[in-house]
């Protein structure tokens, strides 16, 4: 699984969470439902942050695209000198995914800090995996 597939997976998570939350809220408003997800402050505040990361990711992805176009490879080398061109909106897509997962944990466990360790471990692992993929792309190898 390469860097592009991993980032694509994180982007799909962000889009999925945005779509399903908007669908649920629209369903409740159009059918005059007595219960609406917009009334759950703990989860809704986290999930609403997910939408803002989509536009930020688009801007960063365009920036990384231009970085790749403008970059150059030294003679005798197989790849770029730095990882800059491969950092395709990594921070923002990871922030969006962490907000989505944080919203899921908030909806299940509420704001109980005792369960925060699971969220911390998951986000830490995703961040490490993303960094390893960027390094592997630069090196030309694979991530085990």
């Amino acid at each position: 699984m390469g860097q592009l597939k991993f980032i694509g997976g994180l982007v799909l998570v962000v889009l999925f969470v945005s779509a399903i939350s908007m669908y649920a809220i629209s369903f409740a408003s159009e059918n005059d439902a007595s219960i609406s997800l917009a009334n759950d402050d703990a989860a809704y505040s986290q999930i609403s942050n997910v939408n803002s990361t989509i536009e930020t990711f688009y801007t960063d992805a365009n920036g990384s695209q231009y970085n790749i176009y403008k970059s150059s490879i030294q003679e005798g080398s197989d790849t770029f000198a730095t990882t800059g061109p491969f950092q395709v909106g990594d921070t923002n897509v990871l922030t969006g995914t962490s907000n989505a997962v944080r919203g899921a944990f908030a909806s299940i466990f509420g704001n109980d800090p005792r369960f925060g360790i699971y969220l911390t471990a998951l986000i830490g692992f995703l961040g490490l995996a993303l960094a390893l993929y960027v390094w592997a792309t630069l090196k030309g190898g694979i991530v085990e």
Binding site: G8, L10, S36, V101, A104, S107
Partner: protein
């Protein structure tokens, strides 16, 4: 003597669900009927799908069956949320949380986009 108050069917099936969920019959043992229905739906789709796929192809794609089951359960919970008193906001939020976690499991572990 019945342990649970039997529901009154004159108000229709939706009123039976509301009475069971709120236990308006007067006994001290409320039946969490809607969470049990949602749990049944999730397990039915997940276990049925996994076992059917295992029988036909020998491989099991658990993340996608978990996502299917979570989406179907979430849709069912949304339908329940239309009537007042059938489902609580906590249960609806939990179904959304489980759906999100299933999707994260699916998209992060999937080899193909």
């Amino acid at each position: 003597m019945a342990k649970y108050a039997l529901p009154n069917g004159t108000g229709g099936l939706d009123q039976v669900l509301i009475d069971l969920a709120n236990n308006t019959g007067g006994t001290a043992n409320p039946v969490p009927i809607v969470p049990l229905i949602l749990t049944f739906a999730w397990l039915f789709i997940f276990i049925g799908g996994v076992s059917a796929q295992s029988r036909k192809s020998g491989n099991v794609d658990a993340p996608i069956w978990a996502t299917f089951a979570s989406l179907a359960t979430f849709m069912l919970a949304l339908i329940f949320s239309i009537l007042s008193g059938v489902i609580s906001l906590t249960v609806l939020s939990i179904t959304l949380g489980i759906t999100i976690l299933s999707a994260v499991w699916l998209f992060v572990t999937k080899d193909k986009l």
